[in-house]
Symmetry: C2
Subunit: 456 residues, 2 copies
Amino acid sequence: MKHFYAIILICITLSSALAQSETDSSRLKKIYDLALSQPKGYEWLEHLCNKIGPRLSGSPQAQQAVDYTKKIMDTLGLDRVFLQEVMVPNWKRGDKEIGRIIDSKKQKTEVRVVALGNAVGTGKKGIEASIIEVKSLKELAELGKSKVEGKIVFFNRPMDVTKIRTFEAYGGAGDQRRSGPSEAAKLGAIGVVVRSLTTSIDNYPHTGALAYQLNVPQIPAVAISTQGAELLSKMLKQDPQLKFYFRTTCEMLPDALSYNVVGEIKGSEKPDEIIVVGGHLDSWDLAKGAHDDGTGCVQSIDVLRLIKALGIKPKRTIRAVMFMNEENGLRGGVKYAELAQKNNEKHIAAIESDGGGFTPRGLGVGDERAFEIIQTRWAKLFVPYMVEIQNQGGGADISPLRNQGVPLMSLNVDSQRYFDYHHTEIDTFDKVNLRELQLGAAAMAGLIYLISEYGL
Amino acid sequence: MKHFYAIILICITLSSALAQSETDSSRLKKIYDLALSQPKGYEWLEHLCNKIGPRLSGSPQAQQAVDYTKKIMDTLGLDRVFLQEVMVPNWKRGDKEIGRIIDSKKQKTEVRVVALGNAVGTGKKGIEASIIEVKSLKELAELGKSKVEGKIVFFNRPMDVTKIRTFEAYGGAGDQRRSGPSEAAKLGAIGVVVRSLTTSIDNYPHTGALAYQLNVPQIPAVAISTQGAELLSKMLKQDPQLKFYFRTTCEMLPDALSYNVVGEIKGSEKPDEIIVVGGHLDSWDLAKGAHDDGTGCVQSIDVLRLIKALGIKPKRTIRAVMFMNEENGLRGGVKYAELAQKNNEKHIAAIESDGGGFTPRGLGVGDERAFEIIQTRWAKLFVPYMVEIQNQGGGADISPLRNQGVPLMSLNVDSQRYFDYHHTEIDTFDKVNLRELQLGAAAMAGLIYLISEYGL
């Protein structure tokens, strides 16, 4: 008889678990169906890119983006929409840059360059000097002061196109842009030219932030298009005495007031447990910031919209955050984590979408324990949507939450096209596909729904 | 002692298997590296799309594409490059089509339409009649002759945007285009307007083949853009008496001589066992045929190029085929299978790439036994490339080989963008990403290398 009851109990447990999973799978289906059939995020993105445009921290457009995304969230019937004040760097590009190769016979060849973000300018006259090509910081160091002093250093190591995950290739080449200027300055260089970080060979220079080291002279630095880099390298081989000229009038103004934009649905049972989803609202000044990271912003708002529109009452609090200043300071992300700590908030998960609005391949979980739980419990639910649970996840804006023990996650998307557009004038709305964008919103909404329902 | 020898034997077997798999994985790595770092297929595709352009069966451009792809293969040092003669339908679109909504007050609204492939024309005067909207062939049949006779039938069932795999959505709506005209004609309709088969709402009409039934009057038929379809449907609700006018001057000329283009590397050990990989060389006349299916063609040639360039001497014969006339006849595919049978050729696998040159998600194997073998033996080798072995595969051009028991396979790619471009003027070279294209060539080359090495 004991066995009988035991079996009955098992049956009840199993069938209840089964029913639960049926509910969850039909919930996910509803989320996806709504995301694909009523694609709001795509409309919002069009406004952000084409009506507002580039939105560098401190710019009027960044403020417009704050106002616009707050306004959208105000219409969604959320429990709370608010701004978090944050002081941001206020870097201005100034005039359109000039880049020029001048060979030994004084023949001039114009090449496309753009100032690196946060760089100092050359002054109105520009700088002209001999140029020396290196492939790495190590190679630069080996050259030593005697070979570098007074020159412009040309960092020309390409991203490794054989990496399947293009972010690995980006990671493998990014030190040139970030650390190259200060490392060159230590050896007496007067300027830096960096090959654009892209897997593509084209004529769009890709900007991006440099990081000047303390107590090292700040020297001007530009990115050159990959076509320009190939040309310069070729000409240098034939004519090592050639000179390079560039002119930038960029400058760093005093910090400006800006905002993170936050929208929230309060949890019905455990309102103190917060799940945050976000992207960054700022973009580079020369990019419309479609894939970087307008898509992450509208997807995050869309998560709230989908949950509200389906009448889901999440047990835990869900928050969408448009972080300000990922590109050249991360101040918004740092501020968000600071306030979370100050306010004793308990974040149980943070998810970022900042890899472009491409087809989702996975939901990445950068915390081993959380990965195991999510993988075991819910991986099957995402199979129909061709989304895996992956054990790599996170994002720049949410990274300051790591210290508070928050499991960091990300929407992991197909990355083949991302660096074609990244930080350039061609990161435009038309490069975003409606379905790919919406699938990303749905995948995040699905995961967030599950976490809000069951915790981690 | 017996045990000792047994263990030694196991060790030898295991380590040899391990070594084998190491060789295979480094082979795959070399294939991928070369595909990504020396992307030949992309160059060929640019020529095919931008120098040759649309290449409908029977057109001069189709012949140029035959000549061009043969010429490319002639440079690859293959063992054999040859043409297979095939007679193809020779349909001509004629003048640019006119489509017009005429409301009860004689107000005219122009809408974009294109003749369906293989359709008869309206004659120079066009046709004007009342128009009746249906969502399915069933709904049409239920209306019966009395409601349909003398009218134009408007098929307006959208593709189901909630399907994650867009080809399923295409399959679910395609009967309207293929069978709609004859079904409408049986009830006395004088013309057909079909909503374009796309998940996108835009103003590009998508052509595609209809299939007239024997002994049913052939009536003219056009595709209307999805924006046009939405407008027409809305206007019809407000004004059911409105008329529709369209004019097409398309016609079917006598069959024309064309060719499949075949390139081959002879197997070193089992030359009689053939692995065929292909795409179709023809495209619609209004499309440059980038994703449909220039990409499949250049990827197939690239498979041979990669294998030759890496000095791999395949044990079995590998053949790349540019099939002619997939779009409006499938004559090339039928001819290829016919000749294979006639010549007693033994095909051990046939792989097609005809889903666009997008990021590979899987290698699809539409044969249970072959799927099990490939999945078990080699799935792991493709993990680093984010490619799964999937149990759905095949392709139109290779489908006639099924009767000969050949396992049919395909490159299964991300399908979100495909139907934005499919059979329209915007299926152009710039929609193809170099890396996505090349990853497809590499995935197929990898699988084909393994099959050529070990058989199935």
